[in-house]
């Protein structure tokens, strides 16, 4: 991957939300590159800021309740400098979104065909008939049986899996180059989830679209994504290739997450538990390593004072130095005592 392939470049993005007259950063100075034709997963627990990130790219936040700074370069322009009207030319055409709950993401009073066509109305010059034709083609593409019939059905007449296919159809209607999928399979049954994952992968292969996959489910990440960015308390703590990450996660938070999952290997054993709770936005300690309070009694010296993301291997970035001293054995955390090998940087 070279710099020429970069589709989206997020630079120093800070998104703050208003809580009781004060603004708190849900994304705190974050950086991320998304390359062409790849799936990047943004992983974290509820409240970590992963959805806020996706919404920032699309300019979906409520303007009075949010402050955004930084840069979001997309195909040579900074989306943050765009007005709402200018953004409307990008939304749906260049970047589109898939939402979690197919039940609520569709307008209950509009036939699904019209909902798929709606974007084309604003982004293309297609005639009414052509739009309908295209909508039916897309229904076909997301593998909906009898697309002509489904075209004029209402959302409540379709099953959950079908509805999610409609949501995907809406997202790909104008063949965008980037899709932000916010928990696209969380509300679905497992067998349907598997099929939606396969569908998204196939669409990505065929349409050469990049996908930002926002999820809490490492299983889905493993099945779909090329790269992963783990988010904790508004910051990325680890970014890397999924394959390498799953075999050898580095940051204590990534490790803990992975070990807290039940799997074939830890059957009958206790699962790893992270101490404490995810700090809420307005109670967040913004100084130093944000994960420190959740690592059992670690020495200050293993953490950096102002932790930064560092590339420790090619394409594998980790925040803070504490990862060098954190291990999990039989799901129990082991923190090595600080020795003299103070991290010296690259």
């Amino acid at each position: 991957m070279s710099n020429d392939d970069i589709l989206l470049q997020v630079e120093d993005l800070t998104t703050s939300f208003r809580i009781d007259e004060q603004f708190y950063p849900a994304n705190d100075h974050i950086n991320l590159d998304v390359y062409e034709n790849e799936i990047v997963a943004i992983v974290g627990e509820s409240g970590c800021g992963k959805s806020a990130f996706g919404h920032s790219i699309m300019g979906m936040h409520h303007q009075e309740q949010t402050k955004i700074s930084g840069k979001i370069h997309f195909k040579g322009v900074d989306l943050l400098s765009y007005s709402n009207t200018q953004l409307n030319k990008v939304r749906g055409k260049e970047i589109s979104m898939i939402f979690q709950d197919p039940l609520t993401a569709l307008n209950p009073l509009m036939i699904v065909g019209k909902q798929i066509e709606e974007g084309m109305k604003y982004h293309t010059k297609l005639s009414k008939n052509k739009r309908k034709q295209k909508a039916i083609e897309i229904l076909n593409e997301v593998k909906i049986p009898q697309p002509e019939r489904v075209y004029s059905q209402y959302p409540h007449e379709l099953s959950g899996g079908m509805r999610q296919r409609i949501v995907i159809a809406i997202a790909i209607a104008c063949e965008p180059s980037l899709i932000i999928a916010d928990e696209p399979t969380t509300a679905l049954d497992v067998t349907i989830q598997a099929r939606i994952i396969d569908l998204l992968k196939e669409l990505k292969r065929r349409m050469k679209t990049s996908i930002i996959l926002i999820t809490h489910d490492l299983g889905v990440v493993s099945e779909m994504a090329d790269r992963i960015a783990v988010m904790y308390a508004g910051e990325f703590v680890e970014i890397g290739e999924v394959k390498r990450f799953l075999k050898n996660p580095l940051h204590p938070y990534s490790k803990s997450l992975l070990y807290s999952l039940p799997s074939k290997n830890n059957q009958g054993e206790k699962l790893h538990v992270i101490k404490g709770v995810v700090p809420s936005l307005n109670h967040l300690q913004r100084q130093g390593c944000r994960f420190k309070p959740r690592m059992n009694g670690t020495d200050d010296s293993i953490h950096e004072e102002t932790p930064t993301l560092r590339e420790v291997e090619k394409g594998h970035w980790v925040r803070c130095t504490c990862y060098k001293h954190f291990h999990i054995e039989n799901s129990h955390q082991v923190v090595e005592e600080e020795k003299d090998d103070v991290f010296q940087g690259q």
Binding site: N88, E118, G119
Partner: protein
Amino acid sequence: MWKFVVRRILIMIPQLVVLSILVFILAKVMPGDALSGLVETPGVDSSTIEDMRTTLGINDPVHVQYLNWIKGLSQGDLGTSYIHQRPVLELLEARLWNTVYLSAAILFLTYLIAIPLGITAGRFHDSLIDKLIVGYNYITYATPLFIFALLMLFVFGFQLQWFPTGGSADINLEPGTFSYYMDKIYHLLLPALSGALLATVGTIQYLRNEIIDTKMKDFIKTAKSKGVPEAKIYSHHILRNSFLPIAAFLGYEITGLITGSIFLESIFSYPGIGQLFLQSISQRDFSVVTALVMVTGVATLIGTLLSDIILSLVDPRIRVE
């Protein structure tokens, strides 16, 4: 669709039966009858009154009276007014239409005022304009109709003399002519406006809340993420969904209009059924009162029927079996 409507209409049959029984019982338990007032009249002895009661059927057993009444109802016979000595139906006919016109005018004006205000308040909620509209709502909600109507009548009718202060049309005009209808509308305007200004509360508040709710819905995010401009998001997605409860409210609204018309018609001396209702109660003309309550009840039922049919037209989810 037709199945839904047929079923919905069939449901009205037991409703009507229950309504008629209730109305009949209410009429029977009211103290005195049209002849009680004659008891002390010199020259009328009690046996004469008793005879009159028998001829009028007041002495029959209750169920016989009920069945007779129902029989009459089904043939369009609403009974005879004891006071006016005319069939109730005749009495009602002219006035009923006046009330229908007045109610329709109030409903029309209410929506004309409330819908733009509700939409504005919902769309720009928490802004200054929203606060003004909500303030207006509080004031109209707290204002009693009979005081407000009197005030309107005093200011616009008597002081400024912009509007007529009574009646439903100039008696010198030929019914059916253009100027006759214009005059009818002219007579309607002040009472209708008085009623409508206060009736807007419910609709504004519902619409405002519904729009604020709908704005937050996921499918609005979907629309935004498609690149739909904000104005179109409102016209294509938010408004239609927000109008659902307004449609559901229509039946209730109609009941409110009829109750409201009792005050309005009396204050503006507008010859409608509301005015007749008050007169009949004070004169114990119970056959008229019963008929009016029955008519009001039926109007309410028709209102809810209309609500349900409108809802089923706009909301596809209700249509399914």
